[in-house]
């Protein structure tokens, strides 16, 4: 039995490679099924996002699994396995569990603590659970436990530390600032100046927060109409947009104009007494679209890209500071997982030890009882109970010690010794109860 993760991520591979090797949801069942049918792995899950593609495998032939996956990934990347090797990483056993837990907690993400990865890991696990090949489900006891633990760790890290708090991108910082003014953005009105990518991204976020009515203005009206139609907004001509300042709550400015399009003079003409209610202007353009003096108007809150970067920088700084606490949670969970995982390897030996002892007990008991035919059934029952109790007492300490040895890394040598001493020479298969039984759900779902 083994646990391994093979893959690549934003830390090791370029975006071009990551794009090529990424698996769509529809491709995953086929890939995992072939891996299982090949016998390379007994269990397999693939986590594939824009920043990482990782195969998590257990059981089977690990060496073969690595060969198959290297070949598969290099084929998709359009290169040879040897050429792809520097971008690949392989984590085994305890390191593999640690890596998976860190990924789920967002500690391996490009933006530390970003929340989407938790959902992506959950999705990868769910997809793999649905796959049932000729050799059974793609998720067995080990990966069930590993992924459930990983999701628990992700939830704990996010709820017990500030690793996911605050805005970590310019667009989310813009939304956070607007929310610090208005509370909820539900029902607010927004005006977007410019129809570039940044405007679209921010507009989408705003609409996701419940912004009700949105106007899009651009130097070319056709482009404004195109973006407005796509995002369910209304296009207005640029000259009309200035007048709309009286009616909106949020302005997102992101034009490519080389000079400010919202000058103090123009805004002052529309808002001579300042804004009638708080007006949040988010100037995402470089060079800036809004003259700084506009921010001095009554009730106007003006923020440019540097201000938003300041929010992002502060967030990331605070997240970095939370890293030691998050890592402590990960380590604690790795130890818990490893104790469980290691105990799996001793189960067959314990089982063999007990059945061997029981066979000796029953043999000796039968011989003894044959020599004592005068004993009543009650007496025979008493003697049988006594021999069983003696065997249990004798094997209790070795059983506990074996589990401890497996947990602290001395499992293999101790197992060998026990098997030698008690002549448990017949190899027995690794324990593997039903996935649901083995994957104990020890913490609440986050």
């Amino acid at each position: 039995m083994s646990l391994a993760i093979l893959g690549l991520s934003h830390r090791t591979a370029s975006i071009e490679t990551r794009e090529r090797v990424a698996f769509g949801r529809a491709e995953v069942p086929g890939v995992l099924a072939s891996l299982l049918e090949d016998g390379a792995a007994a269990e397999a899950v693939v986590v594939s996002t824009c920043n990482r593609t990782e195969f998590c495998v257990s059981g089977g032939d690990e060496r073969r699994a690595v060969q198959v996956l290297r070949a598969l990934l290099s084929r998709r990347a359009g290169t040879t396995p040897d050429a792809l090797d520097p971008q690949l990483y392989l984590r085994r056993d305890r390191d593999a569990a640690r890596h998976l837990f860190r990924v789920a907690a967002g500690l391996e993400s490009m933006v530390l603590g970003e929340p989407q990865i938790q959902g992506q890991v959950r999705e990868a696990y769910a997809v793999a659970r649905e796959i049932v090949g000729a050799r059974g489900s793609a998720v067995g006891p080990v990966l069930n436990r590993a992924f459930q633990s990983a999701l628990c760790v992700g939830g704990r890290v996010r709820s017990e530390t500030g690793i996911g708090a605050g805005a970590a991108s310019v667009a989310t910082a813009a939304v956070e600032l607007a929310k610090k003014i208005y509370g909820t953005l539900r029902g607010r009105r927004a005006l977007v100046l410019g129809a570039g990518e940044m405007s679209e991204a921010t507009l989408e976020l705003l609409r996701g927060e419940g912004v009700r009515s949105t106007l899009v203005a651009n130097r070319t009206f056709e482009r404004a109409r195109e973006v407005a139609e796509r995002l369910g907004a209304r296009a207005v001509r640029f000259e009309d947009a200035i007048v709309a300042l009286r009616e909106v709550d949020i302005v997102v400015a992101s034009t490519a104009a080389p000079h400010p399009v919202l000058t103090w003079e123009r805004v002052r003409q529309v808002l001579p007494d300042g804004a009638p209610r708080p007006l949040c202007i988010l100037d995402l353009a470089v060079p800036r679209d809004v003259e700084p003096a506009v921010g001095e108007l009554d009730n106007v809150f003006l923020y440019n890209v540097d201000d938003l970067q300041q929010v992002v920088g502060a967030t990331l700084g605070r997240r970095e500071a939370e890293l030691p606490r998050a890592e402590a949670i990960v380590e604690e969970s790795v130890e818990e997982f490893w104790a469980w995982y290691a105990s799996l390897t001793v189960v067959p030996t314990i089982r063999d030890l007990r059945s061997s002892g029981d066979a000796v007990r029953r043999g000796e008991l039968d011989r003894f009882l044959r020599r004592m035919p005068h004993l009543s059934d009650a007496d025979r029952g008493q003697i049988e109970a006594m021999t069983r109790a003696m065997l249990n007492k004798l094997l209790h300490t070795p059983t506990v010690r074996l589990r401890q040895a497996a947990g602290n890394g001395r499992g293999t040598s101790t197992l060998d010794t026990v098997r030698y001493l008690f002549e448990l020479d017949q190899p027995s298969p690794v324990a593997g109860g039903s996935p649901e039984d083995e994957a104990l759900d020890t913490c609440e779902e986050y």
Binding site: I181, P278, A314, R318
Partner: protein
């Protein structure tokens, strides 16, 4: 038992203040929830103390400095709990919980015992008058807390300082809503309290002297509440004006109370 429960409530309030302050300094929101839980426990203990007072003395704790302060503190505690939970303005506890703790500490220092006032200070009209008046003061205090936080958050947002206040304090809109509710409720309750008080004083020996500190303070508070509400009307930064007026008004009301208390008759029934 009353003293024990009052003491326990004070301890819970003190612990809540410490935990809330720590949650702000260290920016741990989980601590804020613990602080709110401790505060809620304090309010429950406080309610128990008031109930035991009524059982022991056969009257509501509304007359005399100690009983009045503890009742006012309890009403403020209830309002603070409502603001923090239903009003979704958790950090408001940073200002309100210390005030509740201070009122409770003041009441214990003054002694929570009946003052032996005349019988007319026991009737239903008197109780209604005092409870309405206290509710008015509570409204102003909540408006003050929300206003203070609004002014600080407004300054952070306008000057683009994204520090602990920006992150921890509620949004301007939430603070404005809580402040507006506090002012409106306070004004309504105090208006009713003054009307009931006038009717009650007419019932017992005609009009009260205009130099009565209770009347001076009550009318001044009513004017402050009316002024703060008026400041919220008109164009421009209504929320900001209302917040500043609430803060300034609260300070004026407290300063006036202290002046009246220092220069007034210490044996009088004034709060």
């Amino acid at each position: 038992v009353t003293d024990l429960l009052n003491g326990a409530a004070l301890v819970a309030y003190g612990a809540a203040v410490a935990v809330l302050a720590l949650s702000f300094v260290r920016e741990v929101r989980g601590l804020s929830r613990i602080g709110t839980g401790l505060f809620a426990a304090g309010v429950v203990l406080h309610a128990g103390a008031l109930a035991d007072y009524v059982r022991e003395w056969g009257e509501l704790p509304l007359v005399g400095l100690g009983p009045s302060l503890t009742s006012l503190g309890f009403l403020l505690g209830l309002a603070a709990l409502l603001s923090v939970t239903i009003g979704r303005a958790g950090p408001l506890g940073l200002v309100l919980v210390p005030l509740v703790a201070a009122l409770q500490a003041g009441s214990l220092a003054a002694g929570v015992r009946p003052s032996g006032e005349a019988g007319e200070f026991q009737g239903g009209w008197f109780v209604l008058h005092v409870v309405l008046a206290f509710s008015g003061y509570v409204g102003l205090t909540v408006a003050f807390a929300a206003g203070l936080m609004y002014v600080l958050q407004f300054r952070e947002l306008k000057s683009k300082r994204f520090g602990a206040i920006f992150r921890f304090f509620p949004p301007l809109d939430t603070l404005d809503r809580v402040g507006r509710l506090g002012l409106a409720a306070g004004f309504g309750f105090l208006t009713l309290a003054l009307l009931v008080g006038a009717a009650w004083s007419a019932r017992f020996g005609g009009a009260l002297p205009s130099r009565n500190p209770d009347i001076i303070w009550g009318v001044l508070t009513w004017v402050v509440l009316a002024g703060a509400l008026a400041a919220r009307t008109g164009k421009g930064r209504r929320g900001h004006r209302g917040a500043v007026a609430s803060v300034v008004g609260f300070v004026v009301v407290i300063a006036t109370y202290l002046l009246l208390r220092i220069h007034g008759d210490p044996a009088g029934g004034f709060l």
